[in-house]
């Protein structure tokens, strides 16, 4: 009896097919519509697959990249490993490429001092390979060494001298009337040009700074006509375009004929 229902269904389907043959005749336009839609469906499917593949590859690359450690963290050398004269940490944001390569050399260790201040002698250690960075950071100079205070000339002057470091492009002299400070910038000396810039507060003072060779040393001398007999206290700091180094220890100087001692 199930065949009866099947026969009825098939007969009904045949009727519908006959009616469809007249209602939806086969034409080339119909075939073109089918072929065009199939092609679009295939292109869309391939595009979806391509997008999915790119997404998967990209996510995989990101995942692998996050799993791997970054290069600079692994290969960065120990900072200041070859520098004994720069104990202070660098203030530049990328210290791993520079500080260890250009330590502040002690002038006492330099057997052949440069004759000109603009071409300081290089450290004896072999320079490492050039960093890949296109804008290498300029290191901050180390503390100024050899700072001493002297009694100046007969015009009531005081003098401060120090050893010129290899990496400093200039120096700032800080002055105070008290040992405890505060110390303020009295003058700035540019090594390359040899010019001295006097701070506005001391613009009327007689201040001279120059660099000269003294035996095996390159020395910077600061002479200040303080105009009074009390001791004056000084500190010196070297600087570069990367920043200013630490202040030197305090030194004291008195003018000639001063009854005071430092």
């Amino acid at each position: 009896m199930s065949d009866e229902l099947s026969a009825l269904l098939r007969a009904a389907a045949r009727d519908e097919a006959s009616a469809a043959e007249g209602e939806f005749p086969y034409t080339s336009a119909v075939l073109d519509r089918y072929v065009g839609d199939v092609r679009r469906h295939r292109v869309a499917g391939m595009a979806t697959l391509a997008v999915a593949a790119v997404t998967v590859v990209g996510l995989a690359a990101l995942g692998v990249g996050q799993l791997l450690p970054t290069g600079p963290t692994v290969v960065s050398p120990l900072p200041a490993a070859t520098s004994s004269a720069s104990p202070e940490p660098s203030a530049t944001p990328t210290p791993t490429v520079e500080p260890s390569t250009t330590p502040v050399p002690s002038p006492t260790l330099d057997p052949s001092p440069s004759s000109t201040p603009t071409t300081p002698s290089l450290p004896t250690t072999a320079p490492p390979p050039a960093p890949t960075s296109t804008t290498p950071a300029v290191p901050v100079p180390g503390p100024v060494t050899g700072v001493k205070g002297w009694t100046g000339g007969g015009s009531g002057e005081t003098t401060v001298t120090w050893d010129q470091g290899a990496d400093a492009t200039g120096y700032r002299v800080y002055r105070s009337d008290s040992l405890s400070g505060p110390f303020v910038v009295a003058a700035t000396f540019d090594v390359a040009t040899g010019t001295t810039t006097i701070a506005p507060a001391f613009i009327n003072d007689y201040v001279v700074i120059w660099s000269y060779s003294e035996g095996a040393l390159q020395v910077v001398s600061y002479t200040d006509a303080i105009g009074y007999l009390e001791p004056t206290y000084y500190r010196v700091a070297a600087f570069t375009s990367g920043g200013e180094g630490p202040l030197s220890p305090i030194v004291c100087a008195t003018p000639p004929g001063s009854p005071f001692t430092c």
């Binding site: 009825l8 007969a11 389907a13 519908e16 097919a17 006959s18 469809a20 939806f24 519509r33 469906h41």
Partner: protein, 182 residues
């Protein structure tokens, strides 16, 4: 011309009316049936598949029609609106024609899944397991749809169809709920 394109042309040229008739059993409307066939053909050939001949492609498209009909959301209004059109378009004094009209009208009174299962069972001669696999239903659900649908059609048409005739017998295991305390 690509291989798929030649097969597609043969299918559309030779089998499209029969496919529309098959789809019309499900949808009850030839326009919707033609739309179903178009969607099914595009879905079938829209992915790289290889069919040995047009018969294999025809069978695949029919499964796609049934699946698309199950998935297609149609409002009750459109189903009801199709009935008078079918009745009006099938004129004829002959008893056979009246019977065919009756079976189409009776089919349209069945819910969508029941109707699809009945057509696939009694038109395509598919087994319960194949219907379930095609429509993504469980065997038990297909059996329930078939039982309900055939019971209704038998009552409407005066037939005595057996929903499981010709289907291989399956073991039925009664599960007794535990923990009832009795």
């Amino acid at each position: 011309m690509a291989a798929w394109q030649g097969l597609l042309e043969e299918l559309v040229r030779d089998r499209r009316p029969a496919l529309i008739g098959y789809a019309a059993l499900l949808s009850g409307d030839r326009s919707e049936a033609e739309d179903l066939v178009h969607d099914a053909v595009v879905r079938t050939f829209g992915r790289p598949r290889s069919f040995p001949n047009v018969n294999a492609a025809d069978a695949y498209v029919r499964r796609a029609i049934a699946s698309a009909f199950i998935d297609r959301v149609r409002s009750k209004r459109s189903r009801l609106a199709a009935l008078p059109r079918l009745v009006a378009s099938a004129a004829g004094p002959e008893d056979d024609a009246a019977a065919r009209l009756d079976v189409r009208a009776a089919l349209l009174t069945l819910p969508r899944r029941e109707r699809t299962c009945v057509v696939m069972r009694f038109y395509d001669d598919l087994r319960v397991a194949d219907i379930a696999a095609t429509l993504g239903l469980s065997d038990g659900a297909v059996k329930r749809y078939l039982s309900d649908g055939i019971h209704h059609l038998n009552a409407e048409l005066g037939t005595a169809a057996d929903p499981y005739a010709g289907d291989p017998p399956t073991a039925v295991v009664d599960v007794i709920a535990k923990g009832s305390g009795r």
